[in-house]
């Protein structure tokens, strides 16, 4: 099944693996960043007084949570390439933009749905007294949200956000199907060249582990530190 020659042959492709790691990290970072912004908007919509906005945001979240990521990625990629003439330049001289961008969009849209739940629970974990105190001072609703509630909520949800980053690193592997040059696509490239994929898959697993395991440990460390509260 595994052969030493196979490992050696796959190892020849280490520069490509490195590029794959870079691509995976960039993809995931962008996805979580834009996903967060989208999630914030969705969470605020879901809590607003205007009912249609609330329904729209809820429908969005439910649809993205109830359909497979694979379907979402393929759909979004195809819609994107049919709707827009995407430029074909290389991001950092490495990654095809016309694949990279739809990949980011698909992951962000998915991540936004999941993170909006996280943000919503983060906001509702802030005691109502905080809002009342701010409003009683004359601060309008949006300033109360921005200056009093969100800073506290975001501090509470930072660990969950970082966990989402770990999740997205793993789930981003799916985007090799639309030609994003991340780690899994390197495995496919190695398979094409050497007619073997087992050893390359092992390398990929090791690389994913090296990305996610330390990240989760760092998160856990900060989680412990932050739970000590607002002390200097």
């Amino acid at each position: 099944m595994f052969t030493q020659a196979g490992f050696a042959a796959a190892f020849e492709y280490w520069p490509m693996f490195l590029e794959g790691v870079l691509c995976t990290v960039l993809l995931s970072a962008f996805a979580v960043f834009f996903g967060f912004i989208l999630a914030l908007i969705l969470a605020l919509c879901r809590m607003c007084k205007f009912a249609p906005l609330r329904w729209l945001a809820t429908a969005y979240v439910e649809i993205f949570r109830a359909t497979p990521m694979l379907v979402q990625v393929l759909l979004i990629y195809n819609v994107f390439t049919l709707a827009f003439e995407l430029p074909t330049f290389l991001v950092f001289g490495l990654f095809r933009f016309n694949r990279f961008l739809p990949g980011i969009v698909a992951l962000s849209l998915n991540s936004g749905a999941y993170l909006s739940e996280v943000i919503r629970s983060g906001i509702s974990s802030i005691p109502i007294g905080q809002t009342e105190a701010a409003r009683s001072l004359g601060l309008p609703a949006w300033k109360t949200m921005r200056l009093v509630v969100l800073p506290q909520a975001i501090k509470n949800i930072l660990p969950a956000m970082a966990n989402e980053f770990v999740t997205i690193i793993k789930e981003s592997s799916i985007t090799y199907l639309i030609g994003v040059q991340e780690i899994m696509s390197v495995v496919k490239a190695v398979q094409g060249a050497t007619y073997r994929q087992m050893e390359a898959l092992v390398y990929a697993a090791v690389l994913y582990f090296c990305l996610t395991f330390p990240t989760s440990k760092i998160i856990a460390h900060f989680e412990r530190k932050m739970s000590r509260g607002y002390k200097r």
Partner: protein, 274 residues
């Protein structure tokens, strides 16, 4: 929903025609009702109250009687089901005034400081940041002015050296004193207190009551919900007794505590004045 609002407004107008608001009073409440669960719970069931400038109105009564609801209706933290709240002669429970100008509740609230049972300081901000947040954000004061003012207020309540502490580093009594000066930083025309000492350890109650007493002596208009009957008697200029959502009795401290008329009040006093 909208038609129900309109009906409630119509009934309010009718009530106001027979019981006009006292436009001389700082706060004038007429026919105030607040229902929960579609009227199953009547937190307030028709209350008329006037609060004049310089008065210290103390609200007492059994738990669940509607004291908090009344206080929170004054700055519209609770939206009345029916009835009107006038502040400085303007009906703030309406969306627009007589000339069709929109009533900005945020501007009204700037003039009504509020202190809560649970302090509600912002835990992610230092004491002084808590105090200057609203005045600076609302363009009332420049940051330097606000800091100067906040420091003076902190000195006055004996916390001049805690300006840069975080709320969690303070005792309950200290936190509540900060909450009071945070409200004062906005230069309010009236201060509303909802059981400001109920969450405090007994040894810290005095320091907070002292600050409130000092404030009363300086002529601040105050509405205070409290179970501190000594404070009510000593500092209150008028006592309201609220039970079952109704204003059962009101009068001077002497009238209320020494000559209670209603059975409900006599019963209440017999339980709290031991």
């Amino acid at each position: 929903m909208a038609t129900r609002d309109k009906l409630a407004r119509a009934r309010t107008e009718e009530y106001l025609a027979e019981h006009p608001a006292d436009t001389e009073a700082l706060i004038s409440v007429r026919g105030l009702k607040k229902y929960y669960n579609k009227g199953v719970i009547k937190a307030l069931d028709g209350v008329d109250v006037d609060i004049h400038r310089g008065e210290v109105v103390v609200i007492i009564g059994p738990s669940g009687g509607g004291k908090s609801t009344l206080l929170r209706s004054l700055n519209l933290l609770e939206e009345p089901t029916e009835g009107a709240v006038f502040f400085e002669g303007v009906d703030i429970s309406r969306k627009k005034d007589d000339e069709g100008k929109k009533i900005d509740i945020n501007v009204v609230r700037q003039k009504m400081g509020m202190v809560f049972q649970q302090f509600n300081l912002f835990p992610h901000k230092t004491v002084i940041e808590n105090m200057i947040l609203a005045p600076v954000e609302l363009g009332k004061l420049k940051e330097a002015e606000a800091r100067e003012k906040a420091l003076k207020l902190l000195e006055r309540v004996g916390l001049g050296d805690r300006a840069d502490a975080y709320p969690i580093q303070l005792s309950g009594g200290q936190q509540q004193r900060v909450a009071i000066v945070r409200a004062l930083c906005m230069d309010p025309d009236v201060m509303l207190f909802d059981e400001p000492t109920s969450a405090l350890d007994p040894e810290m109650v005095g320091e907070v009551l002292d600050v409130m007493k000092q404030l009363a002596e300086e002529g601040m208009t105050m509405a205070v919900v409290t179970h501190e009957m000594h404070f009510a008697r000593e500092v209150g200029s008028r006592i309201l007794f609220l039970a079952d959502g109704k204003l059962v009795e009101q009068g001077t401290p002497d009238e209320i505590f020494s000559h209670p008329k209603s059975e409900r009040l006599q019963d209440f006093l017999s339980k709290v004045l031991i």
